[in-house]
């Protein structure tokens, strides 16, 4: 944590873009269509993720983080959602593969850890059964081999007395153990991309860190790429290589974890970090961001954050600012962000283009 507080400027070098990113998302748009309204949940998200990297997506509720992630598995109801853009995972184009291939990808190449370990396990089957089910589906193992694998997986996620826990029903386990079982299900077929949707949010604070350390360790050992959705900045600092900040369905700031979290440039990221507990004087009230997130059914044309932004000029609400990227690959979408000495620099005096 200490090294993160002082970005070492000597380290700055031109970041070569990875030639062949494992995950490549380009201009992803997701909207939900119903009779009453169209909800634009994701509005043009692009990012690349190399093999073995962890991308943390942070943002407040309703900023489209979970929707973006569920699109990578195509979990949205087909009839009511429209997905546009490119999503490449390895050599698979998620937007185009047929339903059968998608079924094969789900759980084997890409798998997901859900937020609520209470409801994400079927209450009527034992833990072992649920792990073995996935193993049998993808690896065509027989029952005994699948159960043996389930036992190994429970050991892998550090569940105490795994033999007995295999035969336990979800209600007999604590939240932390259940989340570990959930992770075991997700890891059962050695995925290359692990999607974690706030996996520690529903857990006790003391268990959160254990699960987080475990996930980080497993991710490194297995060389998985991971997309980790959270709204806990502390969690993001612990686990992320890259951080993407989402607001109203767009990535408004993206970069190396330390760049974004130590040296934020977008006013929203700045305000969000200012609202967390750091080195403030005791008793001083935390700064909050005024206003509420925008209504995704009727998004303004310009920057979605403009109505809440202290620095917004009259034109911020008219056109969407283009992404500004510096030499380190740090990106922010704000008219008031320029580059000086090859680094992003926020300057409230920059006048937005008319």
């Amino acid at each position: 944590m200490n090294e993160m507080k002082s970005p070492d400027l000597a380290l700055i070098r031109r970041h070569p873009k990875p030639a062949d990113p494992f995950v490549h998302v380009d201009d992803l748009k997701v909207r939900f269509v119903s009779r009453e309204a169209t909800v634009k949940a994701v509005n043009g998200v692009s990012f690349d993720l190399a093999k073995g990297e962890v991308l943390c997506v942070i943002g407040e509720s309703g900023s489209g983080k979970s929707v973006m992630m569920r699109s990578l598995l195509r979990l949205h109801p087909k009839k009511r959602s429209v997905i546009e853009g490119t999503m490449m995972v390895g050599e698979h184009n998620i937007t185009e593969v047929n339903e059968k291939t998608m079924g094969e990808l789900r759980g084997s190449t890409i798998s997901m850890i859900f937020q609520e370990p209470m409801t994400a396990l079927d209450p009527l089957y034992t833990i072992g059964h649920q792990i073995a089910e996935t193993v049998m589906r993808h690896e065509k193992l027989d029952r005994d081999a699948a159960w043996k694998r389930a036992l190994e997986l429970l050991e892998l996620v550090r569940v105490p007395s795994p033999e007995r826990r295999l035969k336990a029903y979800p209600h007999e386990l604590s939240g932390g153990l259940r989340q570990r079982a959930m992770i075991a299900v997700a890891l059962s077929c050695r995925p290359s991309l692990l999607l974690a949707d706030e996996p520690t949010t529903a857990l006790d604070a003391s268990v959160q860190i254990q699960v987080l350390v475990l996930l980080r360790k497993l991710q490194r050992d297995m060389g998985m790429s991971m997309i980790f959705v959270t709204h806990d900045l502390g969690v993001a600092a612990q686990i992320a290589d890259k951080v993407a900040v989402m607001y109203a369905g767009r990535i408004i700031e993206y970069g190396e974890a330390r760049d974004v979290l130590v040296n934020p440039q977008h006013p929203y990221t700045k305000a969000m970090l200012a609202s967390t507990i750091k080195d403030q004087r005791r008793g001083a009230p935390l700064e909050a961001i005024a206003g509420t997130p925008p209504d995704l059914r009727a998004l303004p044309d310009g920057c979605s954050f403009a109505p809440r932004c202290k620095y917004a000029g009259p034109d911020c609400a008219v056109t969407m600012p283009p992404p500004v990227t510096d030499a380190r690959g740090h990106m922010a979408r704000c008219f008031k962000v320029g580059t000086t000495n090859g680094l992003l620099a926020f300057d409230p005096h920059i006048v937005e283009p008319a």
Binding site: H138, E152, L156, P160, R164, A168, V185, K217, D221
Partner: protein, 300 residues
């Protein structure tokens, strides 16, 4: 995969697993049922009735269809005829035993058929939602518009009598409510996270329905179906009573009640026998289904 150092995350000693053997779902249902004496008593009663119907040919003291003009309307507890005789002098006990076969068949078979068919439609409607749901459930609503007895009489009237037609009638009458219960339960299960989780781990729709949906809707559907057994017995008796069910001389509790009612002033106790049998059987089925509801922890 398993070469992770064992000391990565310390496991507190207090986290040792519980040592007692864990109960499965059905194990815990039985455990709750075990102390519910009313339900157990009714269950025993039902088993007794079913057994007596199944073994009627061996238990019946006389031929149920052999009439004897000399022994018409003998009173109850007559030394030769334990439950008396009917208006044609046939032994009532034998007829009750044989009649139970038809009545129980009419109580159980339509419910089994309707649970299968209605449950299938309900699961499909609940899982797919949208237009499929609309078509199936609105069709069911058409059947709901008629009172069940009226619907049964109408269908039975147009199909004609006989055991098969009566069974068909009752099945059609019982499908809509079962379909609705299955649909409600399915649409609740469908929104659960574990269904999403199963999909995220690559399960197909068919395997989600067969492994996750069916078992999770089993309790509410089973409990509701068990309440319908008594409804079905009463409806069947009603149809026979109206002459729309089995045709004489086949023994059937409803039909017996119908023919004996003319003798109500001559031998009221004998006349009451088939009615009492219908009453006891349907109450027993109702109480068992109440007990099941509690044991399976189904929210009504």
């Amino acid at each position: 995969m398993s070469d992770i150092p064992a000391n990565l995350i310390p496991i507190p000693a207090t986290q040792a697993a519980p040592s007692q053997r864990v109960r499965s779902y059905w194990g815990s249902v039985w455990n709750r049922l075990r102390y519910d004496y009313v339900t157990l008593f009714c269950l025993a009663l039902i088993i007794l009735i079913v057994l007596s119907a199944v073994f009627a040919p061996w238990l019946a003291p006389m031929d149920p269809d052999k009439s004897s003009m000399a022994n018409r309307l003998r009173p109850i507890f007559h030394p030769k005829y334990f439950l008396g005789t009917d208006e044609q002098g046939r032994d009532l006990l034998s007829r009750m035993l044989y009649g139970g076969r038809v009545s129980l068949l009419m109580g159980i078979m339509p419910v089994v058929l309707a649970t299968t068919i209605g449950g299938l439609f309900g699961v499909v409607a609940g899982y797919y939602g949208g237009k499929v749901n609309m078509v199936i459930m609105r069709t069911m609503d058409v059947f709901f518009a008629f009172p069940s007895v009226l619907l049964a009489v109408a269908i039975s009237g147009s199909l004609g009598g006989g055991i098969t037609n009566q069974m068909l009638t009752l099945t059609v009458v019982l499908i809509p409510p079962l379909c609705r219960v299955a649909e409600t339960a399915t649409s609740q299960v469908r929104t659960m996270d574990f269904v999403d989780a199963a999909r995220a781990s690559g399960a197909s729709t068919a395997s989600i329905i067969s492994t996750h949906v069916l078992i999770n809707i089993l309790s509410p559907v089973l409990v509701y179906a068990s309440t319908l057994v008594s409804v079905s017995i009463i409806l069947a008796s009603g149809l026979s009573f109206l002459g729309l069910g089995v045709s004489p001389p086949t023994a059937d509790w409803g039909l017996m009640l119908s023919t004996l009612r003319q003798s109500i002033y001559v031998e009221p106790l004998v006349t009451a026998v088939p009615g009492v049998a219908i009453l006891i059987t349907s109450i027993a089925f109702n109480l068992v289904s109440d007990g099941l509801r509690q044991a399976m922890d189904v929210k009504a």
